[in-house]
């Protein structure tokens, strides 16, 4: 797994308090990992900080799964 995916996974595990093996490619933050809408905003904020990037609101809305996040951040950073 790429370095980016590891770092994203660490943030998700820490923030949502879920088991690491639950954070799979297609795991939806809200449907599978128990996030509420505010959690997803905070996840995006944490990604921005960790990777030193800016994720605009319209892009943030497309990040719904762990895979989406890794893909977006890989392209942005």
């Amino acid at each position: 797994m790429s370095d980016i995916a590891d770092r994203v996974k660490k943030i998700v595990v820490e923030h949502l308090g879920v088991e690491e093996d639950k954070v799979t490619e297609n795991a939806s933050f809200i449907d599978d990992l128990g996030a509420d809408s505010l959690d997803t905003v905070e996840l995006v904020m944490a990604f921005e900080e960790e990777f030193g990037i800016e994720i605009p609101d319209d892009a943030a809305e497309t990040i719904q799964t762990f895979g989406d996040a890794v893909k977006f951040i890989s392209q942005a950073s």
Partner: protein, 245 residues
């Protein structure tokens, strides 16, 4: 009693009587304060009076871009932003039948929309800090209505609904949002009233006197304090019993 040492507070309308008293009360409790308003001179006079931990942050609240930029400026000046007090307000009283779109819109823009923009602007730092205090200064008029103040009353009632909804959304993050609704408060504005007018007003107030800016500031100080962490989404009416809500 309430200790705000290490906290940073932004107060809008700090050049006015109530805003100035709020800034002083928060500063006295140990907070660093950002004094915002349109008139720079009174802000600088207040900052000079307060001494250290006071920053002047002029802002025209009818300028959307300037309002959006204010939280960032405040954070740059103070090093953080833990407490937001939306106190600034204007009136453009007019009998409703004659109220122009401009009279309506300018009051809504300054009193409600700018407060919304500032609340939105402080969400991110407060969410990160897992601590925040939003205190919106509404008015008794927002709850009771007042002839000639359709625009003002709508904006002040709007603030209450906004405050409650924000309180819902962020309560789990250690952020509280509350409103303070002053009744008649003795300020430069009410000093212009004649003795006869003042008597008539006082006759409607069970406490038989107008409130002081310090009495509003004390309510704000409480809501800003760590002790008020379980109080959110409420409106604290400070009106001498004029309306018991």
């Amino acid at each position: 009693m309430f200790d705000l040492t290490g906290k940073c507070a932004l107060v809008t309308g700090a050049s006015g009587g109530i805003g100035g008293a709020i800034a002083k009360a928060l500063h006295d409790a140990g907070a660093t304060v950002g004094l915002s308003g349109t008139r720079v001179e009174p802000l600088e006079a207040l900052a000079a009076e307060l001494g250290e931990r006071a920053h002047v942050l002029p802002c025209n609240l009818s300028d959307a871009e300037a309002v959006d930029a204010l939280p960032k400026l405040a954070i740059a000046a103070m090093g953080g932003l833990d407490i937001l007090v939306n106190n600034a307000g204007i009136t453009r009283d007019q009998i409703f039948m004659r109220m122009s779109d401009d009279e309506w819109q300018s009051v809504l823009d300054v009193n409600l929309t700018s407060a919304m923009r500032l609340c939105r602007g402080v969400m991110r730092p407060m969410m990160k800090a897992r601590w925040g205090r939003i205190i919106n200064i509404s008015s008794i008029v927002g709850a009771t209505g007042n002839p000639g103040q359709v625009n003002y009353a709508a904006a002040k009632a709007g603030m209450v609904g906004m405050t409650k909804s924000i309180a819902y959304e962020v309560a789990s993050r250690g952020i509280t949002a509350n409103a303070v609704a002053p009744g008649f408060i003795a300020t430069a504005m009410t000093e212009k009233l004649t003795d006869d007018q003042k008597e008539k007003i006082n006759a409607q107030i069970p406490a038989a006197r107008m409130g002081t800016p310090e009495e509003i500031a004390a309510a704000v100080l409480y809501l800003a304090s760590p002790e008020a962490g379980y109080v959110t989404g409420t409106t604290l009416h400070v009106n001498g019993g004029m309306a018991m809500l």
